[in-house]
């Protein structure tokens, strides 16, 4: 952890409020979804964001990439440096294009690459995410859920982003495939030295993936700290409640080797 502290701050969110438009009698009103959220993500860090449904996790991610536009406060992210992996790869991969085309799309948008170069890079990326070159000519609906998520991770990495936002990246997959995808994410994160904002409601998965954990409820931060601090000496009642619900309650208070 000493090392993490020395690293540069990539994402800096300060006093962020986000709003949605909501229909009320007599016109549109604003519904506040995020309330005074502040945190930092450093380079090479895997930052876990935990919360129940409706706690504002996805809204936070969407505010960071500029999809939710009605925000107050500071959002500092590296310009063009944020890529996103979605929960359901069946929806986030364009069904009308082949895997090879999809992998090359970020390069095509950036421009300045020759056809051969894009092809070569796409093949390398495919290998990196653990798929053989024959998958270049498949359509997304010809892949399994795990393969699709590998492709979408590949596409995100093709954007050469410094920060990857993974919004529930394994929630739509079955358990064995989950483990493979998580291992892949972890491996690529270390190899390519990127930061990940890992959004999940699964505390066990977050424990295995992340260095730093933030708990959210109703759009507010409940608690944020290094992973072991959250898992072994949680301060807030809500955190304890979550841990107990996830079957991790027996660890609370045991300082053990993780202290």
């Amino acid at each position: 952890m000493e090392e993490t502290k020395k690293r540069e701050v990539l994402v800096k969110i300060e006093h962020l409020n986000s709003y949605y438009r909501q229909y009320k009698k007599g016109g549109f009103g604003r519904k506040q979804v995020l309330k005074d959220v502040s945190f930092e993500i450093r380079s090479g860090q895997v930052f876990g964001l935990v919360g129940e449904s409706g706690s504002g996790k996805s809204t936070l991610a969407k505010s960071m990439v500029g999809i939710v536009k009605d925000t107050e406060g500071t959002i500092e992210v590296p310009p063009k440096g944020v890529a996103m992996v979605f929960q359901d790869p069946a929806g986030s991969l364009n069904p009308a294009h082949k895997v090879g085309w999809l992998l090359q799309e970020p390069l095509r948008i950036r421009g300045g690459f020759s056809k051969e170069e894009m092809e070569k890079r796409a093949q390398e990326m495919l290998e990196k995410v653990g798929l053989s070159a024959e998958y270049m000519d498949r359509f997304p609906n010809q892949l399994s859920g795990g393969q699709r998520q590998r492709v979408s991770i590949g596409i995100a990495l093709m954007q050469e982003a410094k920060v990857l936002i993974a919004d529930e990246p394994v929630s739509a997959l079955d358990v064995t495939v989950q483990a493979q995808i998580l291992a892949l994410l972890k491996k690529l994160q270390q190899e390519m030295d990127i930061s990940i904002l890992f959004i999940s409601h699964d505390l066990r998965v977050v424990y295995n993936m992340c260095d730093y954990v933030m708990i959210m409820k109703n759009g507010e931060i409940v608690e944020q700290a290094r992973r072991d601090r959250i898992y072994f000496t949680p301060k807030e009642a809500y955190t304890k409640q979550l841990l107990t619900a996830a079957g991790l309650g027996d660890r609370i208070g045991k300082t053990g080797k993780h202290a």
């Binding site: 996103m84 979605f86 359901d88 986030s92």
Partner: protein
């Protein structure tokens, strides 16, 4: 990869459309006789080896005229559908993707055109720009735009909220790129089957306009114009009606089956 077997509808449709295309090309290259050459000796001639479909009231070879007529009908239909589709995709795409005020304005104009039957709309346009083959294409094209625009709009509205559009936006793709490179291919199957149906409607509309005498101008042949001429001699020589009528019916049947097959294969 396993290829799905094409349905029977698709095969029959493709064969009929294929036959039609052969007739079109045949008519363009060379017809057995000059379709406009009159010969009083052959007035109302019965079908024979020399004139397989017989001759009409001016002694013109009906088979040659049908070949030319199919060609004209085909050009008008293709032109009409092309205008309808291209303009429809542009307008519908913009409306569906951006929504808001732009959508409101364009779609309300659309509704105005849509409120008139397409033949009536075409009549209005033709009364402004005069009759003729190319005028008909423009008139019917305009009349066809609203239905395509609506279809494309609803398809774009459905697709634009899916995650892949968001993903493309995050990659930095421009709105135009998202609309036409990312969304359009997904809307394509729906557009394709309605293009084929639209083709049918265009054939019928062209025949209708030619029947009214404001479509393809005589002496040039079109299926509708031939029917209109033959009507006068319905009792004297019913074959004059039957041949172009059957060809048109088969043409429409072919496209209808093809559209069916395409939407089944989706």
């Amino acid at each position: 990869m396993k290829k799905k077997r094409k349905s029977l509808n698709f095969i029959i449709g493709a064969v009929l459309v294929g036959l039609m295309l052969i007739m079109v090309v045949w008519g363009w290259i060379k017809t057995p006789y000059d379709p406009n050459a009159m010969n009083t000796a052959l007035k109302f001639a019965r079908p024979s080896l020399a004139h397989p479909f017989g001759c009409d009231n001016f002694g013109r070879d009906v088979f040659s005229r049908i070949l030319q007529g199919v060609g004209n009908t085909f050009i008008v239909s293709v032109g009409t559908v092309a205008i309808g589709t291209i303009v429809g995709i542009l307008l519908g795409g913009l409306c569906g993707y951006y929504g808001g005020w732009l959508d409101e304005i364009i779609m309300r104009c659309n509704d105005v055109i849509f409120a008139f039957p397409s033949i009536f709309m075409a009549l209005i346009v033709i009364s402004l720009i005069g009759p003729g083959k190319y005028q008909v294409i423009l008139a019917l094209g305009i009349a066809f735009v609203p239905s395509f625009a609506r279809l494309v709009r609803s398809e774009f509205m459905k697709q634009k909220n899916r995650d892949y559009c968001l993903a493309a936006e995050l990659m930095g793709a421009s709105s135009l790129r998202i609309m036409f490179v990312h969304i359009l291919p997904n809307a394509f199957p729906v557009i394709l089957s309605s293009v084929i149906i639209g083709f049918n409607n265009a054939v019928i509309a062209e025949a209708g306009l030619s029947y009214l005498g404001i479509g393809v101008q005589p002496p040039e042949a079109s299926l509708g114009a031939m029917l209109s001429d033959a009507q006068t001699f319905l009792y004297k020589d019913p074959l004059l009606c039957i041949f172009p009528g059957v060809v048109m019916a088969l043409m429409i049947l072919g496209f209808a089956l093809l559209a069916d097959g395409v939407s089944e294969d989706k």
